[in-house]
Amino acid sequence: MFLVYLWNYIRGYVIIVVTGKSIERFINICSRRQILLWDIERKDHESAVMKASLRGFRHMRPAAKKSACRVRIVKKCGFPFVLARLRKRRGFKIGFAIFVFLFLISTSIIWEIEITGCKPEQVPGIMKILENERVKRGRFKMGLDPKKIAQEIVMQVDGIAWAGVEIRGVKLTVSIEDSISVPKLIQSNQPYNIVAERDGLIVKMEVYAGNALVKEGDTVRKGQLLVSGKIENQRPDLGGDFGSKEVHALGRVIARTWYESSLPVSMEYTQRIKTGNEHKTVYLKFLDEKIKLPGKKIPFEIYETSSYDKILTGPFGIKLPIGLTIEKSFEIIENKIDLTLDEAKSIAEETVRQKLAQRLPPDSRIVDEKINFFESDSGQMYIQIVIECEEDIAGFEPVIE
């Protein structure tokens, strides 16, 4: 029923009063002539109130004449009449023109840029190219060449196999396909040496090809030649017409290596505790610009902040460029705690261990671990951890003549 009402409103209708002796006849003629009437109510025995469509009202005159009735309009309802009223107002016309103009402009601007499919470390490079091409939010779409931008990205950013730039509506999408970076090839038919990748004490050597220059128990420095790809003729006196032969050295060199890290032991420990007090700073965000809204200053001495955006969402989930950025500041109290010697030591040990763990190669095996504490001349205590492990230190390098 509501839909019918809405439809009638859009089409426009009039409320009329029909006066006459034979209103039934008037209704019959109207219905036969496809003039739609509805909500007919008898007022008294000489008149009736009814509603008629605009089109129907225009064709009503013959019916009224035939039935000797008089038709009078009480009220004009519906959208066409509203429109007619608005048409007279100049302000509305101007407003409508402005609306159309703004709408056209805003749809020809890029409001959103999306980069998909690439590694996080490639994003700055891509952003820079976009910047060079003067592509940013708020730019007009006109004069933009997606193919050219895509080409620039492929040419200038490493590790990208294919890039596609697409403008869909007000959104510019850069889709990236990474190429897998080519692993360093070790060509088995070319002469290679084995050199030490790290300082260490050789524990075990397995040489499958090449001329070993060091033996078990030797200490080697980083970069030292361990197995040469050049095989000299050991017994020239036995003949054989080759002086030397070049092979691809192959082998495993297990060595004992040491990793060391030290740190001063602090007898104080600062504990950061959130007090639970928080303060909000609100920024109005338009595109990438931020405008601070008036508000109190942050009343805390030490605080941590985290911010999040509240972006207005239009119909169909379109993100509008206007929104709020809310920065929440949390008050923090720094508590300095005096530690006992044991506590201080264990905390220092923990931090040193973490530092060392990052440096250890993944295929190493920890053999031994030593923790030393010593005091410097000024009385500051230091912790030193030495980790001893076994690992393969063979590194391949081409023979350079």
Binding site: E24, I27, S31, Q34, L36, I40, R42
Partner: protein, 104 residues
Amino acid sequence: MKRRIYRIKRESSKEPGPSLGEKLARIFEIPEDVVGSHPRVTAIGRGEVLVENFKGIMDFKDGMIRISTNNGVIKITGTNLKIREITSEEMIIGGKISNIDYDA
């Protein structure tokens, strides 16, 4: 005037018996309102009566509406009667209905 003559003719030719279409409908057991020009009166609750296949309104007064059909006159009485909608095929009568009478 021409129109009046036509009307009389049609009524007189219809009166004697059921039309060919109605006969066929009876044979093939098709509901008569589909083929024939019999009125179809549908009352929904107490507040709405839908009349199809009517010829015209004969009387429309405050508490009474008389509708002429091929089967005679249907009289609908009630309070606050109004014609919600009227086209050449059907009309919807609203209000608080108390009677639907035939041949009145």
